[in-house]
Point group: C2
C-alpha cells in the first residue's frame, strides 16, 4: 500500500536475492557455501575481552560519548603506519576516514561522486554490495570482463573509449565473487590504460591480507603512489571482527573531507566504543601473527574445497583456485542455469550463491560462488559431495 | 582539484557550519553551549562494564560475527514491549528496525522515499541533521512555523495546500533546536489537518523520555494508533549512550522492509556487539530508574540556565523554558544577527549555535540555540554571564 510513496531508486535496488538464500540456509541441516562469513574461531575473543576492560578503565565516559566524524585518531594512526610500512605509502591522518564497515564506504562514495546516470565501470562479475549501494545513486554500470590474471585489457580499453566512465570499482586482490587476483603485469597494464582518463579509481581490498602463500609478494595497488585519483578501501571485518562494522577509506585529503561531510549526514560517526576497542586490540597485539593463523585456517579450508571439487566434479565444470580470500567461482557448462542448480542443490541440503546478482542486466548465468571460510574441512568435503549429485543430473 | 568529480548533491549539502563551531570550542577555556552532548556522568558505566563481560561470556563469537540487517531480536523485542506498555501501541518485531543512530534513520528514509524535488515539510526552525540528510536526496524543503504549543495550524494548512508535501518531519517532544513541545490539543489539530493528506509523517523523538516534570503526562504521538503512514524514530543516545550509535525506526512492516533494503546497501547492519551490549543492559537494569536520574540532572541544569538568563539578559531578549530535552532557544531583538553575536561571544570564551543552519534559505537570523546538558550548573551560570556581556553591547 506504500508503493506510491517509495522512491524510484529504492524500487530498482536489487535486494532480496542473497537475503532470501540466506534465509533458506538458516536450516541447520543445510551446508551453506552461500555466505561470506569469517570462521568464528578466527575472532580473537580473549584479547578483545582484555581490551574492552582496559578501555573501560582507561578512557571512562569517552568510549560512550559522541565523537568526531572522521574517526578515532589512534585507530587512523594505526592504519596510516600499517599502510606506510607494509605498502610503502606516504599517508597522514588526513588521508583516512573510518566508516561503518566497507559497505558504508561504498554508500558514502556514491553520495560524494555519483549524479544520476553517471557511468561506473565494474568488473564482470562484481561485488553485489557495490551494485546495491551505487544503484541507490542511479549509477549506470558498465562491466569489464575479468580474466585469469585480472582485467581483460582489450575489453577495458573498449569500455573506456565507449563509455568514458567517471568511476571505476575494482577488487584487485582475491576478488569477490571470483577469488581472482590481478597479476603485477596486469596492474601495470590497467594503470597504463586508465592513467590519462578523467576517472576516479576505487580499489576495494577487504581480502588482501588473507594471502595464503607467504612466498607470493604483496602487490602494489593499481597506480599506487602514482595517482591522486585513487581511493582505497580497507576493513577490519575479515582480519579481526566484522560485527564491529569498522572499515576505512584512504584517499586524497580533499576527497576525505567530502566523504566526511557525507558521513556526518549519514550516521554522524561510527560506533566509538568499537573504535576504541579495535584500536586497543591492534596496538597491544601482533596483528600479523593473528592474520597468519587465519590464513593457515582458510588455506586448509580452500584446499579442502578445491580437492573435493577435483575429486567429485566432472571435467567440464571449471572453478577458480584462489590463492587467498574467501571464495571460489564455479563455471558450469554453457547454457546450464545456476539458479536451477540451486533449486536442486537445496533439496540435497547444500547451498551457494548463483552468479546472477553479481552481473548487471543478465540472468540465468552458468556461474556460481562458493565460500569456504565458514565451515570446517569435513563439512566442506561433505557439502561438495552433496553438490556433485545434482551436478551429475544436469 | 576534485571539484569536477563531486556530485551535485554533496556540493549543495550544508555541512561545516556546526563542525567549524565545534572546532573553535575545542579550546578548553571556552564554555560551550554549542553541542548537543549528554552529560558524561549520565552514562551507566559500571552497568555497561558488567554487561560487556556478561555478553562476552554468554554469547562468545556471536557478538563479533556478521548479523542480520534488521537488528538483534532481543533489542527489538525490548523496544516493542516498552512502546506497547508506555505508549499503548500495538507493535510486533516486524515494526522495528535498528539503525546506526537516528541520523542513519534519516538517511535511510531519504533513500526510501525521496525523489529529486519531492516536497518535505519541516518545522521552522528544524533539526540541522535532517536538513543535511535529506539534502543529499535533493528534497525540496518547506518550513512551517512553530509557536509556543506546537505547529502554527494556519501556517500548516497553507503549507499543505500550497505545497502538497510528500513527507513531513516533526519533533513533537522538546524539539531540537527550540526545546518546544506540542500540546495535546495541538497534536489533535495537526492530525485533523493532515489526516486526509497523501503524506508520510515522520516523528523524531530522541528527547521524549527526558521529561523533567513527572506530573506532565506522556503525550501520544500525532495520529498515534490512527495512521499507518506514521514513522516514529527513537534512540538510545540520550538515555543510555550515544557513542554506540544505536537508534531505531518504528513503522508499518511494509515500510520497515524497504528501509531494511536501503540499510543493507548502506552498512549491512549496525554494530552487533553494541546491540548485544545495550540489549543486555536494558534487560538487566531498570531503565526508568536510570532515566529518572538523568532527568533530575538535566532539570537542575536547565533551571540553572533559565535562572541565569532571567538574571543577566535584558527584557527584550526572549528564550524558551523547556520542560524536557536538551536545548533552549533564544530570540534576540529584531535585526540583531546571532552570527555576529557569536563572533563577539567567542572572544569572551563562550559559544553557542547561531540559528542560521536550522532554517532553509535564510541567513543572519536573530535566534540561537543553547545546550545545557553538557556542563554543570556553575559553569552554565558563568557561561550565561559571559554571554550577557556582548549582548549588552548590541
Amino acid at each position: 500500500m506504500f508503493e506510491k510513496y517509495f522512491s524510484k531508486r529504492i524500487k530498482c535496488t536489487p535486494s532480496s536475492f542473497i537475503r532470501e538464500i540466506l534465509k533458506v540456509t538458516q536450516n541447520p541441516q543445510i551446508i551453506s557455501f552461500a555466505g561470506g562469513l569469517p570462521n568464528p574461531i578466527s575472532f580473537p575473543q580473549e584479547e578483545l575481552k582484555i581490551s574492552m576492560n582496559r578501555i573501560a578503565d582507561k578512557f571512562g565516559a569517552k568510549i560512550y560519548q559522541y565523537s568526531t566524524t572522521a574517526g578515532l585518531d589512534s585507530l587512523r594512526e594505526y592504519i596510516v603506519q600499517r599502510y606506510n610500512k607494509l605498502r610503502g605509502m606516504d599517508l597522514t591522518l588526513d588521508n583516512v576516514i573510518i566508516t561503518t564497515g566497507s559497505q558504508q564506504a561504498l554508500d558514502l562514495i556514491g553520495k560524494v561522486f555519483i549524479n544520476e546516470g553517471d557511468k561506473v565501470m565494474v568488473e564482470k562479475p562484481s561485488y553485489l554490495g557495490l551494485l546495491q549501494a551505487f544503484c541507490l545513486y542511479d549509477a549506470d554500470f558498465v562491466q569489464t570482463d575479468l580474466v585469469e590474471d585480472g582485467l581483460d585489457i582489450d575489453c577495458l580499453k573498449k569500455t573506456l573509449k565507449d563509455h568514458k566512465p567517471k568511476l571505476a570499482y575494482l577488487i584487485p586482490n582475491f576478488q569477490n565473487p571470483t577469488g581472482l587476483t590481478y597479476s603485477k603485469e596486469n596492474r601495470k597494464e590497467v594503470f597504463e590504460a586508465i592513467k590519462d582518463e578523467d576517472m576516479i579509481l576505487i580499489q576495494d581490498d577487504p581480502y588482501g591480507e588473507l594471502r595464503f602463500y607467504d612466498e607470493d609478494e604483496i602487490l602494489p595497488y593499481i597506480g599506487q603512489n602514482q595517482s591522486s585519483k585513487n581511493i582505497y578501501l580497507g576493513s577490519f571485518s575479515k582480519i579481526v571482527t566484522p560485527g564491529m562494522r569498522l572499515g576505512y577509506v584512504i584517499a586524497d585529503k580533499e576527497i576525505i573531507k567530502m566523504i566526511e561531510t557525507a558521513k556526518q549526514a549519514s550516521d554522524l560517526h561510527s560506533n566509538i566504543f568499537g573504535q576504541y576497542l579495535i584500536s586497543d586490540y591492534l596496538w597491544n597485539n601482533d596483528l600479523d601473527k593473528h592474520i597468519s593463523k587465519i590464513k593457515k585456517l582458510y588455506k586448509t579450508q580452500a584446499e579442502a574445497m578445491i580437492g573435493a571439487m577435483e575429486e567429485n566434479f566432472a571435467k567440464n565444470i571449471k572453478f577458480t583456485r584462489p590463492k587467498g580470500g574467501m571464495f571460489s567461482w564455479v563455471t558450469l557448462p554453457k547454457g546450464v542455469s545456476a539458479v536451477k542448480l540451486f533449486d536442486k542443490a537445496i533439496k540435497k541440503n547444500v547451498a551457494f550463491v548463483p552468479g546472477d546478482p553479481f552481473y548487471v542486466g543478465i540472468n540465468n548465468v552458468n556461474t556460481l560462488r562458493l565460500n569456504y571460510t565458514n565451515a570446517d574441512c569435513d563439512t566442506i568435503k561433505e557439502g561438495i559431495k552433496r553438490l556433485s549429485e545434482p551436478l551429475k543430473e544436469i
